[in-house]
């Protein structure tokens, strides 16, 4: 069982320690600075925080003494010549397959470091960072330096290699609403899933494009959106334009992947070669942001349903966690210990985590709930935290 929880919040990072069977929050760190993601590297115990300064740009901060002191980590920067084809907010008659006409180019800068992932034990200094506007960065020296993964950045689904010249293909990637805060409408990488059996086998999820897979350590990438459906598109089965909200894998059965998508819950038991829609709206399992997967049983997953798409609040004023143990054929609504009236909480994509039988989630209303029995019963760890962006066990 984990004894540490990291909360990335609108107003800084809050660390909770488990002592004497109860959880105790420490004073907030990075007070006043939005922390959109925070996690602990299990290999060397370094704590990482992605700071989302409103004025001063995205920064990484790290602590090598369990959160007592923090230091600025070297900045992630797009290399000279990194460009992308500008996207604009779609109109109601938006068609992701329609030709986009003459492309407009922009030089790339990091708007947001949305996710940090840690390499395998075989690659001790390897880190990954997913960003808006849609670049995956890789470090092999523990975050001292970062390099843009060019095969993904230059993917033909994005227009080809714009370092060399103008676009050689259409840009099929769309923007994410999460980018609008930065005055742009560009895609973002929020999920990075590394296969524990093979460090060269990685899935990333992009809002709004879909899932891509590499089997050669990032030298080439292939779209993995077979079976996905976009109910907001005139062509729901188009290859690109999907809106994964989060993708998580089962460490013990890595071919089992789960995707909470804008258009519902999807499951794959063949390494994302095929996705299957497993939403059950009648069991309140459809719209939402996060998904957590059991460490050993790839058929068992948890989602936190919300009233989608327009309201984005708890359904009927009551918080619930939905769990499946049979690959999404059936879902149980788990509510013991969760508020069942006047609850308006929404739980964002990185704000649910699992460690063994323990689950924890935090909401934009500043509430944190924890279950030590796989979601059957929940206890509240606090009601007055700042809006919560990420929850990760340490």
């Amino acid at each position: 069982m984990s004894n540490l929880i990291l909360l990335g919040t609108r107003k800084g990072i809050v660390i909770l320690d488990r002592k004497d069977s109860s959880w105790h929050p420490r004073p907030i760190e990075h007070a006043g600075v939005p922390v959109c993601y925070a996690a602990r590297d299990p290999r060397d115990a370094t704590l990482w925080a992605s700071l989302d300064h409103g004025h001063w740009g995205p920064k990484l901060s790290r602590s090598r003494d369990a959160g007592t002191t923090w230091e600025n980590a070297p900045a992630i920067k797009y290399p000279e010549g990194a460009r992308y084809i500008v996207k604009v907010l779609p109109t109601p008659d938006f068609d992701p397959d329609a030709p986009t006409g003459q492309p407009e180019y922009a030089g790339a800068t990091v708007y947001k470091i949305w996710n940090i992932a840690f390499g395998s034990d075989a690659q001790p200094g390897r880190l990954y960072a997913g960003t808006i506007p849609g670049g995956l960065f890789v470090s092999d020296d523990g975050g001292e330096s970062w390099e843009l993964n060019r095969p993904l950045w230059n993917h033909e689904s994005r227009g080809g290699d714009l370092f060399r010249g103008d676009a050689t293909s259409e840009n099929r990637w769309q923007g994410t609403p999460a980018s609008i805060d930065y005055g742009v409408f560009e895609p973002g990488i929020h999920s990075i899933v590394i296969d524990p059996r093979d460090a060269d086998h990685i899935h990333v999820a992009v809002s709004t494009a879909g899932v891509l897979e590499t089997t050669d350590g990032g030298k080439s990438w292939t779209g993995r959106n077979q079976g996905m459906l976009m109910d907001y598109s005139p062509n729901p089965k188009a290859e690109w334009g999907h809106d994964p909200h989060f993708v998580a894998g089962c460490p013990g059965e890595p071919d089992h992947l789960w995707q909470q998508n804008h258009c519902g819950v999807f499951y794959s038991n063949d390494g994302a070669q095929n996705w299957r829609a497993v939403s059950k709206p009648e069991a309140d399992a459809r719209f939402g942001f996060p998904v957590a997967v059991d460490a050993n049983d790839g058929r068992t997953a948890w989602v936190i349903p919300a009233k989608g798409d327009f309201e984005r609040m708890a359904i009927g004023g009551g918080l619930a966690v939905a769990r499946t143990t049979d690959g999404g054929q059936s879902w149980q609504s788990l509510r013991n210990g969760l508020p069942q009236e006047h609850a308006y909480d929404i739980v964002l994509r990185h704000a649910l985590d699992i460690a063994g039988d323990t689950l924890c989630f935090g909401s934009t209303t500043g509430n944190v709930y924890l279950s030590e029995d796989r979601g059957e019963n929940w206890q509240c760890l606090g009601n007055h935290f700042p809006p919560i962006y990420s929850v990760r066990f340490g």
Binding site: G54, H55, W56, G57, K59, A75
Partner: protein, 87 residues
């Protein structure tokens, strides 16, 4: 300079820095030489002023936010402050 930046660069607090006249970019990089990393806070990696940062020469907001080529005269003062873009 906005006091918010002193939180990240305490060495700059209560300092009036005198640097050679030149472009705004040159002035900012002179500050960066005193407090490494400073430019990453006010400029993006393309060298453009971040969206919510304003720079003025005396009381005139700089025109070139992309390359910061506006000229800073010998006795001019450069101010760095946050753009008020919220409620």
């Amino acid at each position: 300079m906005t006091t918010h930046l002193f939180r990240f660069f305490p060495i700059l607090e209560n300092q009036e820095l005198t640097v050679p006249a030149g472009s705004v970019a040159e002035v900012l990089h002179a500050v960066d030489a005193i407090s490494p990393g400073f430019c990453d806070y006010v400029l993006d990696e393309r060298g453009a002023l971040r969206r919510h940062v304003n720079v003025s020469i005396n009381d005139t907001i700089v025109i070139d936010r992309k390359a910061l080529s506006d000229h800073v005269g010998d006795d001019a003062t450069v101010y760095i402050f946050q753009a008020l873009s919220g409620g």
